[in-house]
Every structure is written in C-alpha cells, then in structure tokens.
Symmetry: C2
Subunit: 307 residues, 2 copies
Amino acid sequence: MDKLIEKIELMQNPTVVGLDPTLELIPTFLKDQYLNEDLIETDYEYSSAVARMFFDFNAQIIDSIHDIVPAVKPQIAMYEQFGFNGIAAYINTCHYAQLKGMIVIGDIKRGDIASTATAYASHIKGTMINKKEFDFWKEDFVTVNPYLGIDGVQPFIDACEKKDKGIFILTKTSNPSSADLQDLLVDGEPLYYKTAYLVSKWGERAMGQRGYSKVGAVVGATYPEQGIELRKRMPHTFFLVPGYGAQGATGKDLKGFFGQDGGGCIVNSSRGIIGAYKNDKECTEKDFAVAARKAALNMKKDLAESF
Amino acid sequence: MDKLIEKIELMQNPTVVGLDPTLELIPTFLKDQYLNEDLIETDYEYSSAVARMFFDFNAQIIDSIHDIVPAVKPQIAMYEQFGFNGIAAYINTCHYAQLKGMIVIGDIKRGDIASTATAYASHIKGTMINKKEFDFWKEDFVTVNPYLGIDGVQPFIDACEKKDKGIFILTKTSNPSSADLQDLLVDGEPLYYKTAYLVSKWGERAMGQRGYSKVGAVVGATYPEQGIELRKRMPHTFFLVPGYGAQGATGKDLKGFFGQDGGGCIVNSSRGIIGAYKNDKECTEKDFAVAARKAALNMKKDLAESF
C-alpha cells in the first residue's frame, strides 16, 4: 500500500484505469485484424484470437497512460469468459503493466473457505512446485469477497505480509442492488458497517508505514454519503473506489472518500477511459489510446477538485 | 436441476466428488512421472506439467467412479493457482467428466456487479464471438456468491433459464468463521436466513419440473441444526452440501438436509474420496482410483442411512 501511495503522490493522480475490454469496446480495425474468419476456425483459434486482440488493445492503452496513471485494474471476468486463452491475456496484461512500472490491482473478487482461500491467495503469494516459487499471476493487489469471514481472508492477509502486497475487501459495492444484503440492518446499523469494522480489525495486523493498512476496502463511488461515513469509521483503510464515470459518479461526489491527508483513496474508471474514443470527436478509432490518455487527464483534473 | 435429480435417483446416490487436487494429494509415482526436473525448466513447463498431471489424476478418478457417482465438483482455486495452464486442466477435467456422462458443478464462487456478472455467467451461458456461440468452460452448474445482491445473480439465473443449467448460491458455508458475517443478527435472525429468503425468492423464477428450482443453495454439512432450519425455510431449494468427511460431518449429521421426498440434497466429499488411498491399507498409491471408488461406495452407504 505504501508503494501505491508513493506512486499516486508522484503522479499527483489517485486514479486507476480499469482494463475491462469487451468485444463491443474494441475498435473495428482491431476486430478486422484479429477476428478474420478466413483465418480462424476452431474454438481454440477463436479464443486465442480474442486473447491476442485484448492484449494488443491493453498494451496500447498502457503505453499511452503509464506515465500519468499509477495503476491499472483488469477485471478478470472480462477475460475469463474466453476460457484459458482469455486468462492468458489477463496475465499477460498484468505482466506488461508491471514491466511498464504500473501497479496492478487484479479485480478477481475471490473468497472461499480456508484451504481454498489459500489456493486463491497464490494470486499474490506465488505458488510452490518442487520447493521452487512461481508467480503465475503478476498482480500486486487483488480484490476479495468477505462473505465467508476471516478464514477466507486470512490467507490473503498472510500473503500481503509475506510479499509486501495488498488486498481490497468488498465493503459497499457500487451496484444498485448492493443493498440486498449489504444494507440489511444489524444492531440498527447496515451490514456494511459490520464489514467495515471487520476489514479495519483484520487490517490492523498488516499496517504499512504511511498510515494505511495493506488491507483496503472497496467502496462504491455511487454512494457518496456512505463513503463519508465509512471514511470516518475506517481512518486507516485505503479505499478502492469503483463507479466513477460510466456508472455515474463525478469528482464532486468523491470528496468525502479521501482522508484528512488528501489521500487514502484511488478511484477507478474503466469504460470512461478505455472506451473514450467512442465519444471523442477529435479522435478516430485508430486513436483509441490517445483518447484514453485525454480522458485520463480529464479525470485527473476532475478529481483534483475533490481532494 | 431435474437432470441432476434424475441422475441421483438412477444411481441411488446423492454424492458429488470434489475434484480438488493438490500437490500433496497426488501420488508420488505421478509426481515422479510429470515433475521430472531433468525435463522441465521454464515457468510455463512447470505449470504445464502440473496441469497435465492433475488432468491425468482426475481422469483416472472419473473413470473409476462415473458409473456410481452422479456428479463431480472441481474447485477452480486448486487449478487457478497454476495460472492459465491450471485453468486449462480445470476445463479439460470438466469436459472429460461430461463426456463420461457426469454432471459438472464448477465450484467458482463468482459474484460481481451486473455487467461483470454477465461476463462470469458465460461459465454456463457460453460466449458469443462474431455471432457464434462457444462453450469454453464445460460446466453444468456453478456456485455463486450473493454479497452483491440480485444484480450480481440475475445474469446467472438468466443463463440457467436459457441453457437449462443451474447455480448454487452460498447461503451458510461450512467453514468455522462463516459466522463472522453470515450469523450476524438481522431483525433478530441470522443474516443467512435473509440470504436463504433471497435465494428462495430469486429461485421462484426458475422452477424445474421436479419441485426444485434451478437456483440452489450451498449449505455446509458442518452445521446440522442450521441445515434442518434452512430445509424448512427453503422447501423448493436444492442444497449442495460441502463439509462431509475431511471437514468432519457424517451421514447422521445430514438427515435434516434432505426434503420429505428423501431428495433435495447432494453431498460433497473431496479429500475423503480422491485422497482415500492414503488411509486405505489395502491399496498402494498406484491404486488411488480404486481406493476412491471404495471410499465413494462407503460414503453412499453412510448417506443411505441418513435419508
């Protein structure tokens, strides 16, 4: 978490770009190049073509923004839907972003019982084979689901400590129906306050040097009042904030998510950056990476007014 | 769900075998065969060797049990820790089990906001590329995490309807700390009752012909009293019950999980079956698949006394 904070300060930009490609978001010229049906036929060839196309798209975005944006957050579902070739594109994307100096937040939202959570924790902890350690995933942070309680989370916290990496635990998510469970009243307070309490408590075991724990929280930008309340309740918890841009939130909504030090928060935008070329009249689709950089700079400016 | 019920009735066996290989569980002779360090060197070769070894192990288990056990439940975390090669072994395992006539429950515990949940739902719905549909995952059911509410679940329910497949939503999990969130009191009742209510309600939209919805629930065998209570509250919800065997529950603990029709429930055992050779004095490790069949027959007998 300290490294993330330093990178944000260096770039004066608390932004993470969500690398969530879809076939709809990919420019036509790339689809023509990779998904030429004269050249592909089998299931394997189709998923391999999509995987290579997604990586090409992501790499161009990363090349265009790596000097102004501290982190990327690939959402693994977007890759997973194309099977193991899709997963390969996810891992290659993570690796490429790391090589370009960016911090990688793997949005995997895993959560399971103890022995299985230990296997998932290999995303940041690495995997042992014949007493050799391998890093098959190339992520610096991952997101974690808290529904199974501490023994589903502890293996990730252990991995954070061992590898100086971090996690973000779902606390109040940005989607409309997050209320179904998260807002149920427990002792007169919404459930996500309990989650917030647990996340803070679990995080005490893994404090960094800069006042924030390696155990962060996911708090949706679409709920600004809840964000203010959670910031008060979780002064040492770093927030990963999705929901900016395409999901509706703006910089003004986010003031309360930042701590008194003006930090403690990184804001994600996905479609608003990587699909910016669709709404940028000055750019053709071939300039999709240029449009992404412009959109990232606009977001930086918008956020600067909020913290 | 109807197909699962018919298969259980045909085999008179409400058992699912968890295909959760680990390096510790794999017999030494297989490790010597695949992980020969004279032949493997790169990260790719190591993960590929593990992937092929896991598939070989699983395929022998499947060959040995497919005529007496209706379903398998591979836990994706065990494969995911070996990167995309591991994922390939997971998919190959699912596919092989389907080819052998078994029903495949992918234990993936995914859950995310709407657009992302739609991507995850491709596990059972398939994926469209250039107006062609592909099934990259080969699963009949998947497990789903409810923390994000209905818009994280709806895409899976839609997929169930479209493809005549099913899901199991985490309700009361088998691990010790499931109480951290699931047992918090909401209106004087534990949270998992609310989850149970939501799962039942969501499931009404996807009823099968045999009295049970395509939307099932995960209810841990390690909490027998809670199982009885949930069975009363969810008469039309099929239960996937982990926690038998290695996690401590026995057939006697499970009576209350079954419905009045003696059905409505499938019980998982993983290590107790696939690692049975380690405790079977009549079998050498080369007979691991024979030991698995014996253990599966013993489990069938134990369960027969409970329903």
